[in-house]
Structures are given as C-alpha cells and as structure tokens.
C-alpha cells in the first residue's frame, strides 16, 4: 500500500500544488483587494474548487492511466484492485481537500473575523469540501471504465451540470420532499443553505446530510472497485 501511495503521489502531486496555488492565489488576491465582499469572494473560490478539483483529480487517476496504457501493468501486479483503487482514492481525496484547506487558511488569515466570523468561514469551506469530495466519488465511479482522460473530463463536466440542475430542482419546488435534497452533493453549500437562512425553508440536519452522502460515497466506491476488478479479469 505505501508503494502504491508513493506512486500516486509521485504522479499526482503536481496537481495538488497546482490546485493549492490557484485556489490560494485567487482567495488571497480577492480577499486582499476586497474587490467584492468577503462572502461573495469565498463563494467564488469555493465554486471554482467544487467544479475544478473533482474533474482534475478523478480524470487523472484511472482514465489517464488507461489512456497511457499503464493500467494493465498496474492490475497485473499481485495487489488487489480494491487496494489500487483505495490508494488512488486517497490521492484523489488529498487533491480535493488540500486546495480547499489552503484556500480556507488563506481566507482566515486574510479576512478572518473581518466580515464573517472564523467559525462561519470554516463551516463555509467545510461544506464546500464535502461537496467536492462527493462529486469526486461520483466522477471516480462513473469514469473508471473510460479509455481516456479527455472523455472522463467531459463526463465529469456533464455530471457537474446534472447535479447543479438536479439540486435546483430538488431545492426549490415545495412539492419535492425537503429530505430529498440530502442526496445532492451540493446539499450543504451556499445556495441551499442560504435558503434556510432566509427562512424560505427549514434547514437540513447536517448530520443527516453527511450520513446520506457517506452512504452514497461508500456505495459508489464499492461499485467502482467491482468494476475495476472486472477489468482485471478482462485483462
């Protein structure tokens, strides 16, 4: 396992640096210059993170490996596919969490307590990170059998658009049960949380959303692991 992790780190660490630099720089420039109010700026940073990081991380793990032809060699190793996927998932999680963490730290240093209390900033980035991770797992599972990084990226963008539209549908009409929103990766982030703040709807219990998201993520991961095992059988 450590060897697998080292391999993923060796291949993907530049993306971690890239994500940290982009999100950190965006947060620093925006919050230092106060071009917009702090909450809007953090919303922009979070939105960029939620859209960019899952695509960037999920497409580079399995589809890129397949595109380069190295996945066959990897699966031929005397290691369970689930372990290979676990190491890739761990790296993907790092790719999603690391830049969001950097952006949160930069935001706290640049604007902590200025317009928003520190706790609110932390909660803001934490909920955005949950959404990022949820989207990453969705993309990881759905793109695992795609032959190239480009196709995986297209599917990832499509999935992103789907969930944005689905969240809008789940969040707004009163005919949809409120709890149904918990299945959306965006259940805890700004737009839907803001509705609750403005009294338009009752807030969703955070623990419930986290439990639902964790359940979905686990199911997707197991499904992805099986698909990878099937690939091993085919190769």
């Amino acid at each position: 396992m450590p060897n697998l992790l080292w391999k993923e780190w060796h291949e993907q660490s530049w993306k971690l640096g890239f994500g940290c630099v982009v999100l950190g720089a965006l947060a620093l420039i925006g919050l230092h210059s106060r071009i917009v109010d702090d909450e809007t700026m953090m919303m922009w940073v979070s939105f960029l993170g939620m859209t960019m990081l899952p695509v960037l991380s999920s497409t580079g793990l399995v589809p890129a490996e397949r595109g380069e032809g190295s996945l066959v060699s990897l699966l031929a190793l005397p290691v369970k596919p689930s372990r290979i996927l676990a190491s890739k998932t761990a790296m993907g999680i790092a790719l999603c969490v690391g830049p969001m963490l950097v952006a949160a730290v930069v935001s706290l240093l640049a604007a902590g307590g200025r317009e928003m209390p520190d706790t609110v900033i932390v909660a803001f980035y934490a909920s955005s990170t949950v959404a990022t991770l949820s989207l990453f797992i969705w993309m990881l599972a759905l793109t695992i059998q795609l032959p190239s990084e480009a196709r995986a990226a297209l599917l990832g963008v499509g999935l992103l658009v789907f969930w944005l539209m689905a969240t809008a549908a789940l969040a707004f009409p009163p005919s949809v049960p409120r709890l149904a929103l918990a299945i959306s990766p965006f259940a805890l982030v700004y737009g839907t949380a803001q509705q609750a703040v403005e009294g338009q709807s009752a807030p969703l219990p955070v623990a419930l959303v986290l439990a639902v998201q964790a359940g979905i993520a686990l199911a997707l991961w197991i499904w992805a692991s099986r698909r990878l095992s099937n690939l091993e059988g085919q190769t």
Partner: protein, 588 residues
C-alpha cells in the same frame, strides 16, 4: 513564381475546410435565424451575422493558425519540408498569408452581407476594424503552433493568450487604447451609417497591426532557429490558470477596495441599514425590522452618535416605512433638528385625493398631519407634487401654490402665506452639454437657496458642482454652474464617467443612490436586493482637470447607503455599519 503558386495551392487545399465550416456557421446559421424571424414576427429578412462572427472570429483565427502550423511540424513532415528546395521563410509566409486570407474572408464576407441587407449598419465597424484584431490573434495562434507543435496544446495556449488580448486592455487602464470596445460605437440609430474613422480606431488598428507583425517575426525566427517549447499537461494547466490569475489580479488592482475601515458595528442578522442621516456628531440610522415581510419592509429608527470610542446606536423605535427616504421628493428636516421631519403624503382613492403635510418625530416614531396642502389628481394638467425646503424658521411648500410656514415651533408649523404659484418641476434638458433650469421665484429665498430647493430631490449639488447618474445612458455626469440669476441657473457639463466593461461585470450599472460631499461623489452600486451582485461604493473626484475620476472603491456585504462626513470620512450602511476613511488620492 510557380513554386509560390504551388505552395499557395497546397495550403489552400489544406485549410479550405475551415472556410466552408466558418461560412456555414457565420452565414448559414444567421440565414436560418432570419428565415425563422420572418416566420415568427418580422416582415423583413435580416441577417445577423455579427452575433456569430464577433464571439467566434477569434477562435476561428486561432484554430486555422494552429491547424496550419502543427500539421506540417508534426512527425517527419517537417524534415520533408526542410529537405525541399524551398526557402523556409517563403514556405512559412505562404502558409501564413493563405491562412490569414481564409480567416478574413470567413469573417468579413458575412459582415459585408449583413451590412448590405440589414437596416442596422453597425456591422460596418466590425468589418473595417476587427480584421486587425483577427490578424493579431491569427499571428498568436501561428506563433503558438510554431513553438509548441502539438495541435491541442498550441490551441489551448493561443486561446489563453487570446483571453489576455481581449481582457487585459479592459482591466489595465494604460492599455485601454487596445480595447476592442473602443472601436465599436453602436450608438447610431438604425438606418444611419456609423462614424468609421476616428483616433481611437486608428490607435487600435495600429496596436493590433504591430502585434500581428511582431508575432509573425517571432514565428519566422522560432522556425528558423528551431525554437521549441516542450508542452505537456503541466504547461497547459499552468498557462491557462496563469492567464486567468493575471486577469483577476489586474481587475483586483483596478477595482480593489482602497478605503480603510476605521470602525465597524455589527448589527443583528436580518436588520441591515437602509438610511443614514448625520448632522455634526449626531444623527440616526434606519434599520430594517426583523419582522419585515418580503416586499413590505418596515423600519426602525435608531439614534446614532459618533464618539471617540466608536459608533453608538440607540434603541430601535418602530417608524414603519414612511421615513426611509430622507431626501425624497417631498421631505425636509427642521433646521438644526434632524429628528423632526416634514413630509408630504397623498390621502385619497385611486388617483384623486388630497396632499397633506405631516410632521414626524423620528426618535419617538410618531407623526401627525399638520396641514392640508391641495387637491391632487394624477395625470391632470394641474397635478403638481410639491417641493419642500426649509431655511431658518421658514418652511416653503413650492408647487401649484406657494405656502410659507413659520416653523419657530417645529412641531406646530403655522401658515403665514398661501398664494397661487403654478410652479412645476422639470429637468427636460438634463444630460446635454449645457442646460438651463428655471428657478421658482420664491420671495425671501436667495438664488442659491432656490437652486438647492429644486435640486434636492434628484440631483446632488455642492457649491457650483452638480452631479447625477444618467440611468438612460448608464453614465455619471458632472456639471459646473456657469450662471445663476433670480430666475434661472445655467450649467455646463465638465465631466462624464461611463463604467468600463469590467466595472459593469462587477456590478457598476444602475446605481442605487449618490451622495456628493467634499468634492467627492459617492455612488452606491451593485445592490440587487439580496446582496449577491457585489454591492459596493465607487468614489469619484469631481475636482481637477478631469472631473469624475474614479479614485475609491469599497465593497462590503449588503451596502445600501452612504453618508459622507465633512471631515472626509464616511458612514456606510449595509449588513453592518462601517466608518471608512477617505480614498487615498482625495484632494490631490
């Protein structure tokens, strides 16, 4: 010559597919749109090619250039070409000009068709000046292809550079002359021909031509000396994100907040400030009541004191909705008593009724009718909503009648004169280079006071400077008073400010309100009702050789109102109450 013809023929064969595709998009789709319009609502066939050429012309230029270069630089094709008895410069130039001709024909031909068919002739400006931009973008794509030599990577790199060409001039003022929007003045009416030739257009064309020649020279040198850039995913990610960060940092440099927060006061959630009035160190704020329903806002009055220790707010007193607009059409304060206000309201049914003068005690949340003014019927020739103006111990009600009231006892105004007057307020020629306003001949008021009375509701007047935002044209204008007599005031326009595209993106259009104090014009912008459109204040200097120079910016949550103080500081109300310092170049 024969060799050159062969090269041109070969290039034409390779890139002509782009021409057919582009003509299909730039002419075919607009024709379909025109036919659809005829079927639905229009009686005249018009073709709107510019809506396609404008956004995609640059992309086409990049694709053609990258396609032309990378095709012959891939694999062994380059070795083949270098082994041929053809000068590399001649070969490259043939490639360059054939591709450029394809781009220009594909973009200009649809625009020419549009100009010849449509009544709107604005596409002529695009037809004349945008080829310089497309040539520059084509050159950038050509250079990217020569250096990178991988189609997708070169295209991404060139598209990132295209972003910079489009937007750097927007965000960096010294590059403003290269901004594409400076060559397009679409303000002419349908049927009229736009003014094509002017200094901004020539400057733009020169700049773009210079850029195109430079990148062509670099392309030739790069091939001649075999310069290459080893591209990969890392470089692609880095170049695109760097371009975006450069644009964002430049925008932040231009529009970033530069007015320091000296003090701030948190407010309970859901109780933002909508109005501030300060006289000396005392005043009040109007805060939204927490029980306000959406669309029917109720307000609290809270007294305000500016102390050395900070800002102190008094307890909330419910005052409903009626005292919010402290400088509205017909509202006035008792001189020296900011908590006592007079306002006019309409009592009646539908459009017929009576106007009443009321006296309000803001700090107590009470008001009472004090005087019946006159009958009011909307749309009738005699309809006249009055102006209120207080001076010394007199309150003037100016309109269809002139009523002068004694306000020695502010809560009990007493009529001392009531005569027919026939004054009706209007700013018909406002916005022109000069305009004249007739002043109401109110006895006992000086010309300056008469001018203050008529400007108070809508315009901002300080000394001889008058400012306002022209919503129709989305510009701020400044006038200087050039003549003031008992009966009229003449103003001459001295400055105008139109927000840049970047400022529009950041919510500069449709300001909520303006304040003028200390020679600074404070404009509240970006408020959308929910604070999501970048609510902020822009500050303009009305003095100096170029009046209405943007010198300050302050963005904060839910900014709705500003009250400049005589010492240069300003109170800003929104989701919090901020006391901010002056912009850095104030008074310089």
């Amino acid at each position: 010559m024969k060799q050159l013809t062969a090269l041109v023929w070969k290039e034409w064969r390779e890139v002509r597919a782009f021409l057919w595709i582009a003509l299909g998009v730039f002419i075919g789709l607009p024709i379909a749109g025109g036919l659809e319009a005829i079927a639905q609502y229009s009686h005249r066939f018009e073709i709107s090619a510019s809506t396609w050429v404008l956004p995609f012309g640059g992309v086409l230029a990049v694709f053609v250039a990258v396609g032309a270069t990378c095709r012959d630089f891939s694999g062994h094709l380059e070795d083949f070409w270098r082994s041929q008895p053809v000068g590399i410069t001649r070969w490259l130039l043939a490639k360059y000009f054939v591709g450029l001709a394809i781009v220009l024909v594909a973009c200009v031909l649809p625009l020419a068709i549009e100009v010849s068919i449509d009544r709107d002739k604005n596409a002529l400006l695009l037809m004349v000046w945008f080829p310089f931009l497309w040539a520059a973008l084509y050159g950038i794509g050509f250079l990217a292809g020569c250096l990178v030599r991988r189609t997708s990577h070169a295209a991404m790199l060139a598209l990132a550079a295209m972003l910079l060409v489009y937007f750097l001039p927007v965000v960096i003022p010294p590059l403003q002359w290269l901004n594409v929007s400076t060559v397009t003045d679409f303000s002419v009416l349908i049927g009229q021909w736009p003014r094509v030739l002017g200094p901004p257009q020539l400057a733009f064309a020169t700049g773009m031509l210079g850029l195109a020649i430079t990148v062509l020279a670099l392309s030739l040198l790069s091939v001649h000396f075999d310069w290459r850039i080893g591209s990969g995913r890392k470089m692609m990610y880095a170049s695109i994100s760097a371009a975006i960060l450069i644009l964002f940092a430049s925008a932040a440099f231009q529009l970033g907040t530069n007015m320091p927060i000296l003090n701030q006061l948190d407010l309970p959630k859901g109780q933002p400030i909508w109005g501030i009035h300060v006289s000396g160190v005392d005043g009040y704020v109007m805060t939204q009541r927490p029980d306000s329903a959406h669309g029917e806002l109720e307000f609290n009055f809270r007294s305000l004191k500016l102390a050395d220790s900070g800002i102190e707010l008094g307890n909330p007193v419910g005052v409903g909705q009626r005292f919010l607009y402290d400088r509205g059409w017909a509202q006035e304060y008792a001189p020296g008593q900011p908590n006592t206000a007079y306002y006019v309201n309409f009592v009646g049914k539908d459009d017929k009724g009576t106007l009443w003068l009321n006296v309000a005690q803001l700090d107590k949340g009470t008001d009472k009718p004090a005087l019946r003014i006159w009958k009011y019927e909307q749309y009738s020739p005699n309809a006249s909503w009055p102006l209120l103006y207080a001076s010394g111990d007199r309150l003037y009600v100016i309109g269809a009648r002139l009523m002068i009231l004694d306000i020695t006892q502010p809560l009990m105004p007493r009529v001392i004169s009531d005569v027919p007057f026939g004054y009706s307020f209007g700013w018909g020629s406002f916005g022109n280079d000069t305009f004249t306003e007739l002043l109401p001949p109110v006895p006992n008021l000086s010309p300056t006071e008469r001018l203050q009375a008529v400007t108070k509701p809508f315009l901002r007047l300080e000394g001889d400077i008058l400012c306002q935002w022209l919503w129709r044209d989305n510009v701020a204008v400044a006038y200087r008073l050039t003549q003031l007599t008992d009966t009229k005031a003449v103003f001459k326009k001295i400055g105008q400010y139109k927000p840049t595209l970047l400022e529009d993106i950041y919510g500069a259009s449709n300001p909520l309100d303006l304040e003028l104090q200390n020679g600074l014009l404070y404009v509240i912008q970006g408020y959308s009702g929910h604070g999501t459109m970048n609510p902020h204040i822009s500050v303009f200097d009305t003095h100096g050789p170029h009046p209405l120079r943007l010198i300050g910016h302050f963005a904060a949550p839910g900014v709705r109102t500003v009250c400049p103080l005589p010492d240069g500081r300003a109170l800003v109300g929104g989701d919090k109450l901020w006391l901010i310092g002056p912009p850095p170049s104030n008074g310089q």
